[in-house]
Symmetry: C3
């Protein structure tokens, strides 16, 4: 039986009335109404108020809040409040706190610091959520249950150690298999009993900053999987309680980070009724990186619209520098999320707190309490826009033909790879490719290794170092059946426990790429390896360069310096009905776009919204079966030209944006265009 | 009954004869006499020698030292030796050692590392000081008792945790009040019992390097107050013992740092019979920063002369680079302290140690033991100078009309403020203003928030982020009664537990400044915000820029770039008989001096010694009722011109300095001028 | 009864067949044979396989390995496998793990982390080695026993603390003597009982990163001596067991680092039958630094040939950047070791591991398993070269006339010296001098303070800060008897427990240098002190500059800037039949070579292979009584000219290198020349 769906775009965000006098609530409510805010997220950090001691709950204030805002017609996102444990709990049950990477048990403080293996934490969280759901399950204004908050971080305590051993036993069955999987004979790490396994923190096999280095990569990668799974079990525990009382309401937790490296969000996403994301670009985050994160959030949810659950209406207190948003910037940045598939626009926060850590984080209602502020006026403007376009967009989806693979296990494995250059960076490599496509206005899905490949024309897997079982043949089949596939240096090297595929790189991708790599040179920082394309283009390679032996592939470009000058640098392999491409070095942005254009242009239909006309604007598409919406976003502080390949006359303009004579769009302005879909789409 | 006062300028410093054979003492004494040294500071780190085990004291060597040097007429500064605990004490009573910010109990080692809450430390220190005072209280050569040494650093042990809870209970009376004061509902930190409070180290609410970041600023700020108070209680405990045996002798401890951020020196100063300061500028410390610290030491002592208790006769071993002092540099730098109010010139140290940590710290008697060294000759020269000018200067004071506010609670609060720029730096902001005045030769007092404002014409409070109860109205009254007041961005934001004053910044300073601030932009490093004065001057703002709404104030300058171009940047508010000024951004040095000149010039009398003629020399004034002494210090390695506005013919020259035809003063030379005071002073 | 000697140059390296299926061993063996590899190093990290639990040993697989490769004629370097403890050992005996500098007991993980004072570790290691030697002592293919692996690192546990107290008692006999030796009265550290001494980690007297800073240098230096000795005792324990079963076989352990600062290798070398070294220059290590390390390894072994026990045939996984070796680079770099005295060429490793920490470390057999790789071809080429030249070189030695002193106690002492510049760096200072000689083609021995000085014409002791008892008179005698001696700033300051020699620097070197130093200026980074030689050369001094008083010495150069302009900077003292030189500042490389040329040229015979003609090539000499071999190594990526002073016609050319018309040698090429020795050599 399917769950409810959002019936309107939520516009609102985090609100903590329990931190304010009750007398002030009506004033707040009036401002919310006045700015088109229709939703509040509450109860995120209220555990200590709801449960003053183990024996006692007190929901009186929460009742009042929920009643007031339900009655006023607000959609409520109700948090379960398990993210910050009360002081008394640390005192009474010290095991609820984590042991850190340095081996130290923590005490009361901070937040998001519960040990996932602590039976006391589990029991007390369970009881709280049970109380909450029993009490509020039937309130129909509660649209989404928000479990915990921004899960992340790891624990290294004895309880986790015990649970880890069980997790391993369940996965590997025998210590011999574990010894093989982690190659434990290396450095004499062979074990004979499960209880010889210790957690990989600074006292054991790990070293360097947390999650940076390890003597046993198999161990450390599995520990990250285990911790991700352990936190996920907590989420599932809470979710089951909620669903026991209400099996229709949406349940989620909020993802975060750029992205958060701690949790395998593809795995977590399976358990979310709707993906929710907290988005905090800094003043100097390039727009394409934010776009990537939104595409990732849509991607982990299999293309479903997601919630923009947190974003700032003004400044962020914890970033190094947080200049004010320029006029229009708020709307443009929030609509960027919508353009990529967000169906909510939610702020952290609605009211600026009076004290403690985040008091300088911007909010709709600032410390001044005044109603006619610049920020409130911008929020109100955006509210009107959403009221106008929201209902049309709510049922739209995206249908892209190009995908980039992103994989958390690979992120972890590359991270631990003690390779021949310290500059390996999986995310940066993926972003290189994403950026080139973004600048070519080619809309992209970010998919996982377990995603369905069948509806893509082109799949790109940069630095796909770890290729788990069956993934090689899945890719091979994709190409055989007509897909195009691009991969790069440092791909196809290891299996899922980080053991090398012997017999030549790129292991299970050798067949589909039609080549093997004998050696890989490390390119020094500030240096380049020259590359020459067959069509004459000169390019720069950096980071690494593979010394490639062609088997069935042919070369598109050759190295043009160093002792391996004249050997293949970029190759193409026609395989079955498809093609696969291999990049032996990290290409400069311009040459990468040149290569993509070559690869993409011989598609029957254009993959790019602008037919490969570059632009400083961001272009996005959301569609229904019959209609398409084009977002043109100026995410810069100056006017930018609209690509001539977009014929504005063919569209209806939804947002009241000036189309001036020079056909440019002002700083931080947004156009939303609409037309019937063409048959060829 | 008033205490004794210094009857002569002490010239001498730290001396550790107990580390040397007794046979060598006479040679040392001869060198001291020969260089005009008249005082020794002894017994600073002798606890382990004085008390070989808990049951036994041995004062035999100290007796000999005190006898020899008393008999030879030396003034003695006698330390109580409680700063470095003997090894046996750590072994017998592990709780005397501190638990550090990382949560670890330390063992024997280092110094200055006693837990302030340890009953064992307290008892043993008390007993030692009792023994010492009983024995030496009547020695009239002991001019100053020097308690402990350079107090500082914090402890995070369970005993401190218990004492902290008592301290809080005493301050806040109820947990509800504490919850409110620290805004503990934020992140669900609400507590219900005093024993739920834990110390804010890395295992609890603090993070980052020690004293840098915290989730609960109210907690962390109060913990610093508590630790400062706890160490102060130790000081008071020792002082009471001394005064019980001799209520006339001066008692003090030596302050240090630039300044030491750990202790609220304004609070500590109240308990010092005379302020003592250890001064260690590095080779690249600008002279104005050293001047600021001397003015601060005079300021915390309410204008009284202070002791320059430590300074180096040569090099400093622990600084990154310590070039030799150039010829004349020693005298010039020591007289800088005198010019700002020092009545002693004391060195660390008189004799260079043979081994361990500080053996490369310079001394009067070097490792060579030779008597005709460059350093000894410079020391002798300074000794003669002091013999000449000391008696005249001993009773002089300073009488300045301009003050800058400096406040330790504000230092702590700004430090923890997680704001919209990471570049907030309270001390640097204060120094910006100090430097401008220094370069304009305007003598300044550094005062605290509790100081008497009434005898100043101009008070400056840069970045006065924390405005505790009543301070707003104290400032308002000061202006109302005719004072001029200058404040800046990031002022008036929070109360003394770091909760925001709601209703618009700058909170309690809104009335006197006649404006409110809606938002504050973060200016990126390497960027500036353009500012245009009404009189045409173009200036650069950095760090932050406030978006100001004028209420009663008028604008002196406007922003001249960004979307808030044309809005007020610097304002003036005529209020009562006075004026207050607000700077919305951090002004460049040149423009700040321009502004100061504008503000100061319409005083009836000039505040600047040179009538605002700039100079690379440092100018200071010490006065008696009838006489004034002008110090002209060349603190650079090249000759500098004397400002023409100083008519040397009107002064008697005390120091035998060449006045050459070009009226310049040689590198590292000093002039001291004297004349009768004018009636207008 | 002398031990066996190497009867052939070993060519091979680390090999871990136990990590691979037995079926693969024959393929490996075939590749080894094919590349002239004649030796394997095995069993380095096999403890956990050999001993699955305390009660059980299993040598079945090791038997097979040793049998197979013995039978195939391979020389075996057999490791004792005590470097990596099995997991069960940590579990059963937690005390086998070290306590770290932060005070934390470690758990199972990593390697090289046994506590040297743990009775459990000692007992279990002893038992393992006893089993191994009983079993394999008679195998004649086992040419070298390789004890443990790359000893290093320190422990700070209670057991070490107890042993340290015993070690101190044995050295100092009384606490009074210890108090004097460490100058413990400073900062009141005086102790009265041995058990008041605590280990110098971060909880006690040390601070900063490990081994960087300490309050009590005597303590910290002695702790390093103690830890070095403690690990050496473990080595000796194993060695005695081996020798009990076979008193002919060579026994060693492998030294490492640049060099490893943890162990006093001069002391350790006395117990090695042959010195073994693991050499890992990075891509940007200047060739002279690698040469220095080889000379050091020859030097600690009193001039005996050494084993190049580890080096990479390709890339290194743990360095920041590890580009591929260019064609010829492998042979050139391995022969550099041979040129400096290596009698083995051994790789880490023969076969690339499939998983864990070092899987990207290059190997002879790569992951591809292919036999016709670029690396294997280069290895084969080198194998042939060694087969050709090895037998001739095996009995050669070096006979140099110039030596540089290097001393671990001095390294430690300078490291802890809290001086007037933070840039003190003993190794860098030694390398300054080494580099100048290297560029002048003057072959150098690196000797210790206890080495025999008598067969050198020139001994250089840069920054010889610590001059232990009798060393001063040893140097004085050397000069008196006709030697030349060069020393520098920051020499002769302290005795072996880091107490200053009073009476003027350079203490015990005052007499031989004929001067004393009153003060030392710190030269700021980016600054220089100008120096002018008597012969007109202008030079730059950096780091420090001593203010020198000549007593019997005369000046060769004077300072030419600052207030001490015109005072001596570089001096010469004719003393007895010899001469000694003192450099008051750190000379630039060009001027240092100028000075060396001046000092060396008046030798009767030339010390330089090229008679002081500089060259970018590296030149080395190995000799027998009648024959000399000149190595000309081009260790760069471009062709370089052969110095004209080498008349190639007078030599036989051993390596088949092109002598082209321009008399240059190609990138990464090597010539080995041979001729009869001249009588004058």
């Amino acid at each position: 039986m399917p769950k409810n769906e959002l019936t309107q775009m939520l516009y609102g965000g985090d609100y903590n009335p329990e931190q304010w006098p009750e007398e002030s609530w009506d004033d707040d409510l009036k401002i919310f109404k006045n700015t088109q805010i229709n939703s509040i997220t509450i109860n995120v950090f209220s555990w200590s108020l709801l449960q003053p001691c183990e024996e006692k709950y007190d929901f009186s204030k929460l009742d009042k809040i929920i009643n007031k805002f339900s009655n006023a017609g607000f959609k409520i996102v109700l948090a379960t409040a398990t993210a910050a444990m009360p002081a008394w709990m640390f005192k009474k049950y010290p095991d609820v706190a984590r042991v850190d990477y340095q081996g130290r048990r923590h005490v009361f403080g901070q937040r998001h610091n519960f040990c996932p293996s602590s039976p006391n934490y589990q029991r007390l969280a369970k009881q709280l959520v049970t109380q909450l759901t029993k009490r509020y399950a039937d309130n129909e204004q509660i649209t989404v249950w928000h479990i915990n908050n921004e899960y992340g971080g790891y624990c290294y305590c004895n309880l986790c150690q015990q649970e880890f051993r069980k997790w391993l036993k369940n996965k590997y069955h025998s210590v011999n298999e574990l010894n093989r999987a982690w190659n434990l004979n290396f450095w004499g790490h062979t074990i004979y009993h499960w209880d010889e396994i210790v957690v990989p923190n600074e006292l054991g096999d790990a070293f360097g900053p947390e999650n940076s280095d390890t003597a046993v990569s198999g161990l450390s990668i599995d520990y990250r999987r285990f911790q991700s799974d352990s936190l996920l079990k907590l989420f599932q525990m809470e979710k089951e309680i909620i669903e026991f009382h209400n099996d229709k309401v949406l349940v989620t937790t909020n993802f975060h980070g750029t992205p958060n490296p701690d949790l395998d969000y593809f795995k977590w996403a399976k358990f979310q009724d709707i993906i929710a994301y907290d988005s905090y670009p800094t003043y100097d985050t390039p727009a394409y990186q934010t776009a990537f994160l939104y595409d990732l959030m849509r991607g982990i949810g299999n293309g479903r619209p997601f919630m923009l659950m947190e974003s700032t209406p003004s400044q962020v207190n914890w970033q190094n520098y947080s200049p004010l948003k320029r006029p229009g910037q708020l709307q443009a940045q929030e609509l960027q999320a919508v353009a990529h598939g967000a169906n909510t626009v939610q702020f952290f926060q609605l009211k600026q707190s009076v004290g403690a850590q985040e008091k300088f984080h911007g909010a709709v209602i600032a410390h001044s309490g005044k109603q006619n502020t610049r920020v409130i006026n911008e929020v109100k403007q955006l509210g009107k826009t959403l009221q106008h376009v929201g209902p049309q967009l709510l049922q739209t989806t995206t249908q892209n033909k190009v995908a980039i693979i992103f994989d958390w296990s690979n992120l972890w494995a590359v991270n631990y790879a003690a390779g021949i250059t310290k500059d390996l960076d999986y995310l940066a490599s993926v972003l290189d490719y994403y950026r080139a496509l973004y600048e070519m206005n080619i809309p992209v899905d970010i998919i996982g290794v377990d995603s369905d490949f069948s509806h893509y024309k082109l799949i790109i897997a940069p630095m796909l170092y770890m290729v788990k079982e069956n993934l090689g043949s899945k890719i091979t089949n994709f190409v055989e059946n007509g897909g195009k596939f691009i991969t790069s240096y440092f791909s196809g090297l290891v299996d899922e426990t980080d053991n090398i595929y012997l017999g030549g790189y790129p292991g299970p991708l050798k067949k589909v790429t039609g080549l093997w790599v004998e050696e890989t040179d490390a390119i020094l920082p500030e240096s380049v390896i020259k590359i020459k394309f067959n069509d004459g283009l000169s390019a720069d390679g950096t980071l690494l360069s593979d010394l490639i032996h062609l088997e069935r592939a042919s070369a598109l470009a050759y190295y043009d310096s160093e002792f391996y000058q004249g050997t293949p640098a970029i190759t193409k392999n026609i395989f079955g009905k498809g093609e696969s491409y291999y990049l032996g070095s990290k290409l400069d942005n311009k040459s990468l776009k040149h290569l993509f254009k070559t690869i993409c242009q011989d598609q029957n239909d254009s993959l790019s919204i602008t037919n490969y006309q570059y632009s400083s604007l961001e272009l996005c598409k959301r569609v229904t079966a019959k209609t398409e919406y084009i977002f043109i976003l100026n995410l810069s502080n100056q006017a930018e030209k609209i690509p001539t390949s977009i014929d504005l006359n063919k569209y209806e303009t939804l947002l009241n944006t000036d189309k001036n004579s020079s056909n440019s769009i002002k700083a931080w302005n947004v156009m939303i265009l609409k037309r019937n879909r063409l048959i060829s789409d």
